[in-house]
């Protein structure tokens, strides 16, 4: 079931993002070409190219005509050209995207499963010593920013013990293939994945535990117990499943944040994902890349929200009656 109201919300969000992308560089003082294309562009730019770009973006025209040109370029799937990487923005971003998807995807999966399991166990034992210890421990863990966790792991296992590589996603120029290549990827993935998973474990855990506690008070739990169902069935099938909804929503929201979610961790480990790309673009003032990433983020977020809306009634049939 999908409501029309949500579509309007997403449309507003998307328009806001486009407006920001369009207006920000054009409102900057000075040469709009520089604000659109970044510092690097002006060095490489010949007068002919400059004239061509001015014409393409209608920069000598009034703002509303520029807007028209902007939309035309956008709907042709053109995100612009990065003079820093000397390549179209789209291909630069797509080149970095797989690493981010690998890192954030696996961490999302791990932290959600672990978080839900811990939350169910902890909520089931609410008020007990185990529950309180888990709660205090995970809440403290929650306070550590992911980049700090990452740095600690990097120094402990990378610098001091030397078990894991310090940076990157692959050993450069190693010419590995097959199984050896896969092992190399996993070795590079381990530390950033651990940092990200630890940092996001607590969120899912706290949410599940809270819902679990309220769910356990529902009358149907008493009925289930009176039927003589086993503890395991009670805990996981009756209480656990009903405690999952908020966490699924949260994971869905995270799916939208896939691109930015690993920003800091990627930076710590110089992991070549979109986050690291964003960081490099920031340093180089490579505006087309930053704008492109921003647009990609928007598309991911909206797609993820759309998917959550679709999956809701499957998880909780009560929701579909609400429309």
């Amino acid at each position: 079931m999908f409501s029309k109201g949500n579509l309007v919300t997403y449309a507003i969000a998307f328009l806001f993002i486009l407006a920001l992308n369009f207006l920000l560089p054009r409102m900057m003082p000075g040469d709009p070409l520089m604000a659109i294309y970044g510092d690097e562009a002006l060095i490489t730019m010949t007068p002919e190219l400059k004239a061509e770009l001015v014409e393409r973006f209608a920069l000598d025209q009034p703002l509303w005509q520029q807007l028209g040109a902007y939309f035309v370029a956008l709907f042709q799937g053109e995100l612009g050209y990065s003079y820093y990487y000397n390549a179209p923005v789209l291909s630069v971003i797509l080149g970095h995207l797989p690493w981010t998807l690998l890192l954030v995807g696996s961490s999302l999966l791990l932290s959600t499963i672990l978080g839900i399991t811990l939350g169910i166990e902890s909520g089931w034992r609410r008020g007990s010593r185990t529950d309180r210890a888990m709660l205090a421990g995970l809440m403290s863990l929650n306070g550590f920013p992911d980049f700090f966790l990452g740095m600690l792991l990097l120094i402990a296992f990378g610098v001091t013990l030397g078990i894991f590589p310090l940076a990157g996603a692959l050993t450069p120029y190693s010419g590995l293939s097959g199984l050896a290549w896969l092992l190399d990827v996993l070795r590079h993935l381990f530390l950033p994945l651990a940092a990200l998973t630890l940092a996001h474990l607590a969120g899912g855990y706290l949410l599940t535990r809270n819902t679990m506690i309220t769910v356990l008070k529902e009358p149907y739990m008493l009925t289930a117990r009176a039927k003589g169902l086993s503890q395991r069935v009670l805990k996981y099938r009756h209480a656990g499943r009903n405690s999952m909804l908020p966490v699924v929503t949260r994971s869905g929201i995270w799916m939208g944040r896939v691109i930015t979610g690993a920003l800091f961790v990627e930076l710590v480990f110089a992991y070549p994902g979109v986050g690291y790309l964003t960081y490099e673009a920031l340093l180089a003032r490579d505006y087309p890349i930053i704008q492109g990433v921003f647009l990609m983020v928007a598309i991911f977020v909206l797609a993820a929200n759309f998917l959550i809306d679709l999956s809701y009634p499957k998880l909780d049939p009560r929701v579909s009656y609400a429309y």
Binding site: Y10, I12, F16, L24, D131, V301
Partner: protein, 281 residues
């Protein structure tokens, strides 16, 4: 609203711990000029020193005293945190309560905006804007507030909607009280505890963001910030300096966030009374 927030926090062990941590941090921030033996911006040739009596936490790569920077960094962190917390809570309350009381088209438009903003990840918007205008500390506070009041507005609206139907508000309305009076005298005071919880989480988010942005290198380079210190320290991770440069800074940052989390958690039964009595305490 029959929950005493003060009691709720006092009776919770972690709530107390959190409060003590926060008060300590605030004390460090306020007393920074007294606690710090050096000017945090004063560079010297004595770079990358190990801890000693004259430099408790050694010095950094340009010879600045790390302990002095740590103490002054608390100011930046807390200023941004409390600034954004206050402003965002104010905005959230203003929009949430007014939407609930005014209703109609106004409510629809406001809530639609709120929903749309909640969808967009704040960090990428801040990064995009910061890429064009390198924000100073005040600009950063405004920017973060503008982007983070929406979640609170949703909660305030829900609360105000339920309060609106209560007997005493209806009575006041029947006496001819206008909406502004109703909001100010009858709705906002009853929102008190929830405002506090929202404020605490707002502060936490902002402290996190400020450190993160400084870590990315898009904060004001002339203001000492913990995120920036960690960023500088990271490039020297192959030396021993991380032990007294990186770790204390990261721990200080984490402590503030943990303190806020604990206090927020202790106060959470205010929003969800069913959670009472099952906290850590």
């Amino acid at each position: 609203m029959h929950i005493d927030l003060k009691r709720e926090i006092k009776e919770s062990g972690p709530g107390k711990t959190g409060l003590i941590i926060l008060l300590l941090m605030i004390a460090v921030a306020l007393l920074a000029p007294v606690l710090a033996p050096y000017d945090p911006y004063q560079q010297s040739t004595a770079s990358l020193l190990s801890p000693s009596w004259s430099h408790w936490l050694g010095t950094n790569h340009v010879g600045q005293d790390v302990w002095s920077r740590l103490a002054f960094g608390a100011r930046t962190s807390l200023l941004v945190g409390f600034g954004v917390g206050t402003l965002a809570t104010l905005l959230g309350t203003a929009f949430g309560v007014s939407a609930a009381l005014v209703g109609g088209l106004y409510e629809k438009v406001v809530m639609r905006m709120v929903d749309a903003f909640i969808v967009i990840p704040m960090i990428i918007v801040v990064i995009l804007i910061s890429a064009y205008i390198r924000p100073g500390i005040l600009t950063l506070i405004f920017l973060l507030s503008l982007l983070s009041w929406q979640g609170g507005a949703r909660i305030m609206r829900a609360q105000a909607l339920s309060l609106k139907e209560r007997g005493h508000v209806a009575a006041a309305r029947s006496f001819g009280a206008n909406r502004l009076y109703l909001a100010w005298r009858h709705v906002v005071p009853d929102l008190g505890p929830i405002l506090l919880v929202e404020f605490i989480y707002g502060v936490r988010r902002a402290v996190f963001m400020e450190a993160g942005l400084a870590f990315l290198g898009i904060s004001d380079p002339t203001v000492v910030s913990w995120g920036m210190m960690m960023r500088d320290a990271l490039s020297f991770s192959y030396l021993d300096v991380w032990q007294w440069w990186l770790v204390p800074t990261g721990v200080a940052l984490s402590l503030i966030i943990i303190g806020l989390t604990f206090v927020g958690h202790a106060a959470e039964p205010v929003i969800e009374p069913r959670l009472r009595g099952v906290g850590i305490a």
